[in-house]
């Protein structure tokens, strides 16, 4: 446990010793901040059926930033050790493989959580200024952040894996980005399929509707025609 802790601390420190931590932090907080600002100002302008918290975690460009941070956080974990050769002193020290792997994984997780801490401030500030909570209940906040934690752990573990596969950080990042993006948007496939299916249905429906309508139209046309003739007759009658 002591060795795991030692490895974890080194990993977290090395994030903050490298510029990548600050680049990711700035990029991420910029996107999150802009997102929050736009959501709130949008809601100021019109009546909506959702809360600030729902809007914040649901916007598209927020999710794009979200899938982008995992490759950036995890690409260096193992690939850098392979590249520098530091994996050799590391693995020839009397440490177990799981201690190294978990040390790196949880190191990345700690950094990921640090990334999220400032977003808590948004809601606090919102509450302080508007005196209105940004969500329906405390449970909504807990649920959102639990989702971020679990999803984060899942995607970080994918990133760890791709980092082991190569000594090139760029390749590790590209593989993990593609995998994570694919998994993240896999739900869309269902959506698109449903849509396509739905279109087909509605097409058929439209055809059916068209048939019905045509019948109706015929009838309508008949009645229309008769209507016209009636009105004509009426007009004629009325003179």
């Amino acid at each position: 446990m002591h060795k795991f802790y030692t490895l974890l601390v080194r990993e977290v420190r090395s994030y903050f010793h490298s510029p990548i931590a600050y680049v990711v932090l700035i990029f991420f907080l910029l996107v999150a901040g802009v997102d929050f600002y736009f959501q709130v100002s949008f809601m100021n302008q019109r009546q909506v059926q959702y809360t600030v918290q729902e809007a914040f975690f649901n916007s598209v460009f927020f999710w794009f930033a979200f899938v982008l941070i995992f490759p950036l956080i995890t690409m260096r974990l193992f690939a850098e050790e392979f590249k520098l050769g530091t994996i050799e002193p590391l693995m020839t020290a009397p440490v177990r493989d799981w201690q190294v792997v978990l040390g790196k994984f949880f190191g990345a997780l700690v950094f990921y959580l640090v990334l999220w801490i400032p977003t808590l401030l948004y809601f606090a500030i919102f509450l302080r200024i508007t005196h209105e909570p940004a969500a329906h209940s405390v449970g909504a906040y807990l649920g959102s952040y639990l989702m971020l934690l679990l999803l984060g752990m899942f995607y970080l573990s994918i990133g760890c894996l791709t980092s082991v596969l190569t000594k090139n950080q760029i390749i590790a990042a590209v593989i993990s980005f593609c995998t994570i993006t694919l998994l993240f948007f896999l739900g869309l496939v269902q959506y698109i399929r449903d849509r396509a299916h739905g279109d087909f249905l509605s097409g058929r429906d439209r055809y059916a509707a068209y048939c019905v309508l045509r019948q109706h139209d015929h009838r309508a046309a008949d009645s229309h025609a008769s209507g016209i003739s009636i009105s004509k007759m009426e007009a004629l009658i009325n003179g």
Binding site: H2, K3, T6, L7, R10, S14, H17, S18, L84, G85, T86, I87, E88, P89, L90, M91, T92, A93, P94, V95, R96
Partner: protein
Amino acid sequence: MIKVENLTKRYAGQSAIKDLNFEVGQGEIMGFLGPNGAGKTTTMRILAGFMPPTSGRATIAGFDVFSQSLQARARLGYMPENVPLYNDMRVNEYLVYRAALKSVPSRRVAERVGDVKELCGLKEVEKQLIGTLSKGYRQRVGLADALLHEPDLLILDEPTIGLDPNQIRQVRELIKNLGKQHTILLSTHILPEVEMTCGRVIIIHKGRIEACDTPDNLLGKIRQAGGVVVEAKTASDNGAEELKKIPGVRNVMTAVDGEWKIFSLRVESGLDVREQIFRLATDRHWAVRELTQRRATLEDVFVELTHPDLV
């Protein structure tokens, strides 16, 4: 301390090492020589527990390097080739981190880190980032790291590569001193260094052990151990031809320095032909300004065993 039995490592069908067998006793300093690509680093990596052998067995202090890897690793200090280090850490910070990884009890960490810094001369750079250190200091950090947990065995892969002559001397002294308490397995290309420091030498070539003996015995064994250098004015005579006729002389190389000719003679081991050369010179009335017996070096042994064409 080290026992290697039929150790074989294959990479993608190619054997890096084949059926190595050797032992290193407690307290020995063993030199590990061979041309580049001979399998030295592979052998050392297997011993250090970095990768498993394809077949065969190696034990360190009785612990199998593969199945009892943790115990074996706890007893050895390994310094890899080119000393990979984290450039973003400071020397002190790195050594403390490594001490914790190597199970040095926390109350002893400060003491051990202090000791190895003292021993390797790292006091003046202890607060510096490793990335800013010169090659010599990096090498010393690697050595300090290997020594942190007071291992019984040190495995050093080319500890003096890339150092300047002064630094090589310092490292050599350091290794000699360490040899008093530790068993050392050391690979290097600097052969005079091996002659000076190592009790025994293994010469490995194309994955096989070509020789394993003390430097003195190796020097005695090779065919063309010695040589003689003669500088003479031979007038019109073809000195080289005359010298070649002396029994025991294998070949003669000639260089010219103005009127003087410099002959380098390769002589069979155990023979001293200087007297015959002196007689030849007086018979022919050559003026001689140098007549020196050259002692064979480990370099000759090395070249003979690993690249006989160059002899």
